[in-house]
């Protein structure tokens, strides 16, 4: 099958204060349509940088990213982005937030209304239609953010630690809902996380990244059938394997931080 997202030889170099940091180093990754991919690694390993490059927010220094046959040069509604900070517009009601992308697309009022109602119902948000984001809990806000990108019908969802700020019960709840949506709409999802358990629970494939320079350390297919039980043996075997990989990177991260702080 033709890959939907083709990341070839992508590198990204940031220069801050005369120092060059290689955030991404020669990344190659193909994502098939409908695949659920988790980018896993400690903070600072470039997983968010890679996601932002696919989203078109910050273009790579070298290499190319091709989505559905066209190069990524700017952000666009074909790649819906969900942020950890929700990024809902606080001056719009829940309904308006979800309708925003549709209004830009110049859809008719009745069409928008129908679609928004369907999404509100799907994500259990009916009672919050006319509320402002400040009245909602974190989990509810992230539901609205998900509804907002689903409204666009984009085939690809890019998620940057979307459940990172939520408590564990809300988190599991939203993970299940995301899986349901993913199966129902056959979306391609790239999901950034630093939680090993979350990545195993969700993904078809887990891409483990290294800490500076950001490279792909390992690409693991998760074969455990869904729904996955986090207390099962297979789950925990994989968790152990991935923990070792991630902890290796985390300790490199720690060492480098110690080095940097003593250098000052």
């Amino acid at each position: 099958m033709q890959p939907q997202i083709q990341i070839s030889n992508v590198s990204k170099i940031f220069s801050t204060g005369g120092q060059e940091v290689i955030a991404l180093d020669d990344i190659n990754l193909d994502v098939k349509p409908g695949e659920f991919i988790c980018l896993l690694g400690p903070s600072g390993c470039g997983k968010s940088t890679l996601l932002n490059a696919v989203a078109g927010f910050s273009l790579p220094t070298a290499g190319s990213i091709v989505v559905n046959g066209t190069s990524v040069l700017a952000p666009g509604p074909d790649r819906g982005m969900v942020f950890q900070e929700y990024a809902l517009f606080p001056w719009m009601t829940v309904e308006k937030n979800i309708a925003f992308g549709l209004e830009i697309k110049k859809q008719s009022k009745t069409q928008i209304k129908e679609k928004v109602s369907a999404l509100l119902e799907m994500l259990n948000l009916q009672d919050f239609r006319d509320r402002y984001p400040k009245d909602l809990s974190g989990g509810m806000r992230q539901r609205v953010a998900i509804a907002r990108v689903l409204a666009l019908d984009s085939p690809i969802l890019l998620m940057d630690e979307p459940f990172g700020a939520l408590d564990s019960l809300t988190r599991r709840n939203l993970q299940d809902e995301l899986l349901r949506i993913w199966m129902e709409f056959k979306k391609t999802i790239i999901f950034v996380t630093h939680s090993i358990e979350e990545s195993i629970y969700l993904a078809d494939r887990i891409v483990v990244m290294t800490y500076r320079p950001g490279k792909i350390k390992k690409d693991v297919s998760v074969e455990i059938p869904r729904p996955r039980d986090p207390s099962s043996i297979e789950f925990n075997e994989l968790k152990k394997e991935l923990s070792l990989l991630v902890m290796e990177e985390q300790s490199r991260h720690n060492q480098q931080e110690i080095k940097l702080s003593t250098a000052d």
Binding site: A55, G76, A87, M92, F100, V149
Partner: protein, 121 residues
């Protein structure tokens, strides 16, 4: 007020701009539906201070330069020792000031109903 608007637009959180861009917003939509509303708290603060200052300046200007208006009337009354008129003038200024401020406050609360309590989070 203009300064405040500029400051407000400058301080718009980058995340809103990124979100709007990924939802396909054009430059115009971005300005009208993202930058401007995000900057309203700044704009309204500027407006409130601006209107208050303008009111004081008008009264003073009436006292010095023109021969009409509330400020002028008070000075005129002073010359003739019409203390009742002076006091009436003072009260009028106070009430007008209060009315203007209440009006601005109402406008503030109406336009920023999404914003109230955000600071406390």
């Amino acid at each position: 007020m203009l300064m405040n608007t500029i400051a407000g637009v400058r301080h718009v959180d980058g995340i809103y701009i990124r979100a709007a861009r990924s939802l396909g917003a054009s430059q115009t939509t971005m300005f009208l539906r993202v930058m401007l509303p995000a900057a309203t708290p700044y704009i309204l603060t500027g407006a409130r201070i601006g209107v208050g200052t303008a009111f004081i300046v008008v009264i003073v200007a009436e006292m010095i330069a023109v021969n009409n208006g509330l400020g002028y009337r008070i000075l005129e009354a002073r010359e003739f020792f019409w203390s009742d008129k002076i006091i009436a003038g003072m009260f009028s200024i106070g009430l007008l000031g209060l009315a203007i401020d209440t009006g601005m406050n109402r406008l503030n609360n109406y336009l920023l109903k999404w914003h109230r309590g955000i600071e406390s989070n």
